[in-house]
């Protein structure tokens, strides 16, 4: 059951990713990515990360991707603008090989890591309250920094988006 879900979601995630990098139309790519992100959200849920699962849907699928799609639509690219100059086969082969090698290497590295907590997680693992408590106790400084970064981003975006600077 669990394995079936995992492989289903993993396949969807990988398929979405592959589609995203391969389709020509960025909007199609964006929807492929949404598929991938939603599958990942499912995986998060499988990992008992309830809060992160919701955030994944809320923030990634619901906000970031909407923003990207919104931009795609806003730019309203014409066909010829969407067309990318053809990329050489050599480059494709080289990049793909390198990435494959990298993935293989990363898998090798990950393979050496031993899990040490395979037991069922404790009560309330991954819920909003637990994450929130951790975030505002042990991680409060990073938390504040992140909030500052977001503020800076907001100001930066507003400035950038103004027609006349």
């Amino acid at each position: 059951m669990q394995a079936a879900f995992f492989y289903l979601l993993a396949t969807l995630a990988v398929a979405g990713g592959v589609m995203m990098v391969s389709v020509r139309n960025p909007l199609s790519g964006a929807f492929a990515l949404i598929l991938s992100l939603c599958s990942l959200a499912g995986l998060f849920a499988m990992l008992n990360a309830e809060f992160i699962f919701i955030l994944q849907v809320l923030v990634y699928a619901g906000a970031i991707m909407v923003l990207i799609i919104f931009t795609i639509m806003l730019l309203n690219l014409r066909k010829e603008e969407l067309q990318e100059a053809p990329v050489g086969w050599l480059r494709l082969l080289l990049t793909a090989t390198l990435c494959a090698v990298g993935a293989f290497g990363a898998i090798q590295v990950f393979g050496t890591i031993e899990p040490n907590a395979a037991t069922t997680p404790m009560e309330g693992f991954g819920n909003m309250e637990g994450v929130g408590r951790l975030m505002l106790s042990n991680w409060v400084y990073p938390f504040e920094v992140v909030s500052l970064i977001l503020l800076v981003a907001v100001v930066g975006v507003v400035l950038l988006a103004k027609k006349v600077i």
């Binding site: 909007l27 699928a61 806003l74 309203n76 909003m128």
Partner: protein, 432 residues
């Protein structure tokens, strides 16, 4: 381990809540039509009938369904076919998913089994709803873009911007609720609203979070693209917005999606600010303790009400007859409805009479009575809010786009922050 009974129960619950939402659909449409007619001082739809039964135009919905099903589903050239076809489905499905976390009654204890009256008792249920509704925008955006129509695109863009903008005050208004009830779990929130404030006022979100409630309701209107925020489909500006190219059942899906969204928004408003399934002044324990009386009152009032309605119907039928009538089966409608309600009322009074001689209810019976009472409470509140949606639509004019954005960003978001701040201050002062 999840065994089959659990699955069955979950399935049953899903069927129930979806059934509830979808049943409300025709009711809403009927509300809309009749409400519009009422406000515009006209009759509204009243022709469609089955064997003469019109149910004050309710049957008109069936005619609509038949019409939409029979219509040709046009796919214009130059559209992105895949997205064009997916788009309506997306909007509808996501909204239905969100109902999974809406609680409609207190937890039911039957045979040692605790059944929560919501499909998924998520720890952060409110956020789940937010997440799912934020996905809702894809349907609109996709429809707008794939239609390859400038009005549709403009509608999609407007819709996206509007929904993203109003999600922020929506979420921020919720923070106050989280703070007051100390949870993001909808059932907990509702349970928290069962207490009394100052001894006489139900501790509803409306009373502890008045500003938050106002903000939330406003933002919910915007999220559902309802008037006065229905810019995406503003017919006087961009024809019909994102669904201008749609027809037939696809168009119907958008339409239904909008109404389901209204139901969801109403359910949310009810759950968060109007006590959800709580019957005012009667928390669950109290209802269970006095389940006998509740049963008697419900049956008695129901029976008498049904008889009174039947009398009204019969009286109306007689007036029709005196006035000459339509000359077809429609003339018989009052008699049919009256007779039917006499039967219903009689049955209820019969059961009422039976309960008088019956001993105290068994535990499960009492609990069931409580659940029924709570479901009724929830349903009534939700329907009331649905009606408010209709009411507002036909009462208020539409915003201009820049006014919409200014309201969202410059007034509602700061007010939401003020709300959080005040809530925090008050909580500090009251020391919880």
């Amino acid at each position: 381990m999840v065994d089959w009974i659990d699955f069955a129960i979950i399935g049953g619950k899903a069927v129930f809540i979806w059934g509830f939402a979808l049943t409300l659909l025709p009711v809403l449409i009927w509300f809309e039509r009749k409400g519009a007619a009422f406000i515009q001082d006209r009759a509204g739809p009243n022709r469609a009938a089955i064997l003469g039964i019109r149910l004050a135009g309710f049957i008109h919905n069936i005619a609509d369904v038949v019409k939409l099903l029979m219509k040709e589903m046009m796919i214009p050239p130059h559209v992105n076919r895949v997205f064009f076809m997916i788009a309506p489905v997306l909007g509808f499905t996501f909204i239905l998913t969100a109902f999974a976390v809406i609680p409609w009654a207190d937890t039911l204890n039957v045979g040692g089994r605790e059944i929560t009256m919501q499909v998924a008792n998520l720890n952060s249920g409110v956020l789940f709803i937010l997440a799912i509704t934020s996905l809702n925008v894809y349907g609109i955006i996709l429809a707008g873009w794939s239609s390859n129509n400038k009005f549709a695109l403009l509608g999609g863009l407007r819709s996206t911007a509007q929904m993203i903008s109003y999600e922020i005050p929506l979420g921020l208004a919720l923070v106050g609720v989280f703070m007051v009830y100390g949870s993001a779990q909808l059932n907990e929130i509702v349970r928290g609203q069962g207490e009394l404030l100052f001894g006489f006022l139900p501790k509803w979100g409306l009373f502890v979070q008045p500003l938050g409630a106002l903000l939330f309701i406003t933002a919910a209107f915007a999220e559902t693209n309802r008037n006065p925020f229905d810019l995406p489909e503003g017919e006087s500006e961009i024809v019909a917005g994102y669904h201008v190219e749609y027809s037939g059942m696809r168009f119907a899906l958008f339409y239904m999606g909008e109404y389901v969204a209204i139901v969801l928004a109403s359910a949310m408003i009810t759950t968060l600010y109007f006590g959800g399934w709580q019957v005012p002044y009667f928390p669950t324990e109290k209802i269970i303790a006095s389940a006998d009386s509740w049963l008697k009152v419900m049956l008695g009032v129901g029976g008498v009400g049904a008889l009174a309605f039947a009398a009204l119907m019969l009286f109306w039928a007689r007036r029709m007859k005196i006035g000459g009538g339509f000359g077809d089966l429609r003339d018989k409608e009052g008699i049919i409805l009256g007779v039917a309600h006499i039967a219903i009322g009689g049955a209820m009074l019969f059961f009422f009479w039976k309960t008088l001689s019956m001993g105290p209810l068994p535990d499960w019976g009492a609990r069931t009575v409580a659940v029924v009472a709570q479901i009724t409470s929830f349903a009534l509140k939700t329907i009331f809010w649905c009606w408010v949606f209709i009411w507002v639509r036909w009462s208020l004019p539409r915003f201009r786009y820049d006014q919409l954005m200014r309201l969202g960003w410059k007034q509602m978001i700061p007010l939401a922050f003020v709300n959080i701040f005040i809530t925090g201050l008050v909580m500090l002062w009251m020391d919880r």
